[in-house]
């Protein structure tokens, strides 16, 4: 009996190790995937220039923030697509009234980069001698233009483009990441959503503007907070294309939304290049 008991037990174990998946009502054997990126071979990126990402930490109770906004708007005016701005409402900034634009993702970044004051800006998440290079206060942010120009004169390691189309409630985002130099570090891509023309009260140097128009406001990070890995080892010339379909539920009006894509060295967090697009 012992002789056959072991094989029978083994056979029972084997048959148990066979999964049976049941279909849904439509005959599909699928589960909701959440926003995940589908990867494929990419197409060449037309612009190999080095763009700058400025993350500006602001808040409705920060009276000096409008000055920083104006300074960055002026720089943006001259640089065009070479500058991408994300305006992150600091987690300690409760709204005066109306819309609360704080996000968990923005709060995590603020804590990680040690942002205490508003306004504070970061350019490409640069770390100098172990310290994050922060531009604290409106005057410092006003002078960020020369640093942005310096970034633009450097050879980019990667090039990025991004497009987004809206179909019904769904936004189809496609981006290409082209390697302009060999990669031997974890190269991540982060996708975020910003929104322009959000009207809610803002303290200004002269009082409160109840209809202040907020631009570039971070509404959500689509990918993981620190991005998703594109590659950790690849040669220059390789092009990756990612596609993700999401519902932009965080925004007030999709017409005013932008998709921001930025590539980082995940080991150092440094932003290597960035791009943004409107939702068509």
């Amino acid at each position: 009996m012992k002789r056959i008991a072991i094989p029978i037990f083994a056979l029972a174990l084997m048959f148990a190790s066979c999964d049976k998946i049941e279909p849904d009502a439509n005959g599909n054997y699928t589960v909701y995937a959440g926003p995940e990126i589908m990867w494929s071979e990419g197409s060449a990126v037309a612009d190999h220039g080095h763009n700058a990402l400025v993350e500006k930490y602001t808040g409705p109770r920060c009276s000096n923030c409008p000055n920083a906004d104006a300074a960055l708007d002026a720089i943006h005016e001259s640089l065009g697509s070479r500058l991408v701005v994300m305006s992150i409402t600091h987690y300690q900034e409760e709204p005066l009234a109306g819309l609360d634009t704080r996000t968990d993702d923005g709060g995590e970044w603020a804590r990680y980069f040690g942002v205490s004051y508003r306004p504070t800006a970061m350019l490409n998440r640069t770390n100098v001698n172990g310290q994050w290079d922060l531009f604290v206060g409106a005057p410092a942010i006003s002078g960020i233009g020369s640093s942005i120009n310096a970034v633009g004169s450097e050879q980019a390691k990667v090039a990025i483009d991004v497009t987004a189309t809206q179909t019904g409630d769904s936004t189809d985002i496609t981006f290409n990441v082209e390697l302009l130099a060999d990669v031997d570090y974890p190269l991540n891509i982060t996708l975020a959503v910003t929104e322009d023309s959000l009207k809610y009260p803002q303290l200004t140097p002269t009082g409160t503007d109840p209809e202040y128009s907020h631009n570039h406001i971070l509404r959500e990070v689509i990918t993981d907070l620190w991005g998703v890995e594109v590659t950790s080892s690849a040669s220059a010339g390789k092009i990756y294309q990612g596609r993700i379909k999401v519902a932009l539920k965080s925004v007030e009006d999709v017409k005013n939304a932008h998709i921001v894509a930025f590539a980082t060295d995940a080991a150092t967090r440094q932003v290597l290049n960035c791009a943004q697009c409107e939702v068509e």
Partner: protein
């Protein structure tokens, strides 16, 4: 690779320790074999050969087996520096190192193997690991394999491991259990029965982690993938007097994969082979039906790697050049077919047998697709199929061969074959090719020292070479071959294949060889046509080449 080196070192240590206890290596014996193949090739736009950047390509291997009593150990060294043409992808093949190693202990009742091993359950429809150096295929399992024989006539096998994938091992884990009972050994009253009966059954399960695969039209939903996929089979092998019957039925659970475009339909396969033989006559009929039976340890794998199972081919394995020009590649995703094979020897002294007798062989095979109805795409059941209804014709051939010894020095073999080939089995669109092939093969034993063989072949096909299809097999061809064996050691052969109508190419080859005991050296120069090299229905794409080849094989 570090793991391999560590285990190789362990193997050497174990062997060293064992030999020390067994009073040195003289207590056992070592056997082995060595093979090296070199290739040089340069561009030839007519046949589509490309220049070889390395100028010289090399495949080499050495198999070493040590046996001492119940214990055996083996290893295989392989080198691809860089791999011969057709061993693609080149970047995965190239390299060198220990590709296979094992330790084994065997008694009458038990065999235990740890390391790389090859195993087959039944005809292989749920599990067959094997290697073929000419196909560049090795799907050995690295793990543990146990065969237990509790009583005479009963064998139980259990195994677990991961499959070799070029120089690494695949992530999927393969587990298997198989039992076989020979009733004539187990039941005393049947020991001398004319009826010989063997039953067997097996089960194989593979485990693979999750991955994200979307439905293209619905990218917010990913496939709910089974992590454990099982396949089971039952088989019968019986004979009664001159009659034989082998049959096996296999069934596989949901296994969405790249091969079936991630559908959830279960797979099944049935194979039946019946035969009759007596002196001077044998006949065999085979039939099979295969539906969605591709079974790999990694679901996203394509090509010929990481198959856990093997679907036996039931088309004749032709050896003549023009008969094997359009080989049939088994369609693991779905096919059905039949083959009949008859061999008859006309007795000596009869009207047609003559002084020496005449051997006749007939073979006929037809393979079709399944009759399917699509019910959905990726992430659904995929399709339904009618069991006994056939789909498109994939392949058909009929051949008759007459072999006659004309006198004490001359032997003639004449063959006629008709083939129908559907390019869809190679993944190409196009109409059916219809081929007629005639072959005359004459062997002349000139004297004790010299033997000459002449071969003439003709292929007439309705296929036409076009620059678009670039199928260099197309058109009408003639071929001549002369082979000269000089004594026991030397041989020389020359051949030429020429497309005289609707085709392109002139493939000449010259080779010289030398045999001495277990060593064989061959040097060849000529042109190799691009096409499929198939062994047992498993195929490898071989590109055109134009240049020198060198081969050395030896065993000890």
């Amino acid at each position: 690779m570090k793991v391999i080196y560590r285990l190789a070192a362990l193997l050497l240590l174990v062997v060293a320790g064992f030999t020390a206890r067994a009073q040195g290596i003289a207590g056992g014996h070592i056997t082995g074999s060595f093979q090296t193949d070199l290739q040089m090739s340069h561009a030839d736009s007519v046949i589509g050969a490309q220049d070889v950047d390395e100028k010289l390509l090399l495949n080499a291997r050495a198999d070493i087996l040590y046996q001492n009593g119940n214990f055996s150990a083996g290893l295989r060294f392989e080198a691809y520096q860089n791999p011969l043409l057709g061993f693609e992808p080149k970047n995965l093949y190239k390299g060198q190192g220990l590709a296979n190693y094992f330790l084994s202990y065997s008694t009458d009742k038990l065999t235990v193997t740890a390391g790389n091993f090859y195993e087959q359950f039944g005809s292989g429809m749920i599990l067959r690991t094997y290697e073929d150096r000419y196909l560049g295929l090795d799907n050995s399992l690295l793990g543990v394999n146990v065969a237990f024989r509790p009583v005479n006539g009963v064998t139980i096998k259990a195994l677990a491991g991961k499959q070799r994938y070029y120089w690494n091992y695949a992530d999927g884990i393969v587990r298997g259990l198989d039992g076989e009972v020979n009733l004539n050994s187990v039941v005393k009253s049947m020991a001398d029965s004319k009826l010989r009966l063997t039953f067997g059954a097996g089960f194989v399960s593979k485990y693979e982690g999750d991955e994200t695969i979307f439905q293209p039209e619905n990218p917010e939903y990913k496939l709910n993938l089974p992590h454990n996929v099982g396949a089971g089979a039952a088989r019968l092998d019986m004979s009664y007097g001159n009659w034989t019957l082998q049959t096996e039925y296999a069934r596989k659970g949901q296994d969405p994969s790249a091969d079936n475009d991630y559908i959830y339909r279960e797979g099944e396969a049935l194979m039946v082979s019946a035969g009759y033989s007596q002196s001077g006559f044998s006949a065999q009929v085979q039939a099979k039906r295969v539906d969605n039976m591709s079974f790999r340890s990694v679901r996203s794998q394509s090509g010929q790697m990481l198959y856990i199972n093997y679907i036996p081919a039931i088309t004749k394995q032709h050896t003549y050049a023009f008969l094997s020009l359009y080989p049939y590649a088994t369609q693991t995703t779905g096919e059905m077919g039949m083959q009949a094979d008859v061999i008859y020897s006309i007795p000596k002294g009869s009207l047609f047998g003559g002084k020496y007798g005449t051997d006749l062989s007939f073979n006929c095979a037809v393979i079709t697709g399944l009759d399917t109805t699509q019910v959905g795409g990726r992430g659904t059941e995929g399709y339904t199929s009618k069991w006994l209804s056939t789909g498109d014709l994939y392949y058909g051939d009929f051949s008759v061969e007459v072999a006659k010894k004309l006198n004490s020095k001359l032997k003639l073999t004449a063959t006629y074959a008709y083939q129908v080939f559907n390019p869809v089995v190679e993944g190409h669109a196009g109409s059916l090719h219809h081929n007629n092939v005639l072959i005359a093969d004459l062997t002349w034993k000139v004297n004790k020292q010299h033997r000459l063989r002449f071969e003439a072949e003709w292929l007439g096909s309705d296929s036409r070479y076009t620059a678009t299809s670039a199928d260099r097999r197309a058109g009408d061809w003639v071929m001549g071959l002369v082979e000269w064996n000089i004594g026991r050691h030397w041989f020389v052969s020359a051949s030429d294949q020429y497309a005289y109508n609707d085709g392109i190419g002139n493939y000449y080859n010259l080779s010289v060889g030398y045999n001495h005991q277990a060593t064989r050296v061959t040097v060849g120069y000529g042109k190799q046509r691009e096409g499929l090299l198939c062994i047992g229905g498993v195929c490898r794409q071989v590109p055109a080449s134009n240049g020198l080849t060198f081969s050395l094989t030896t065993s000890f």
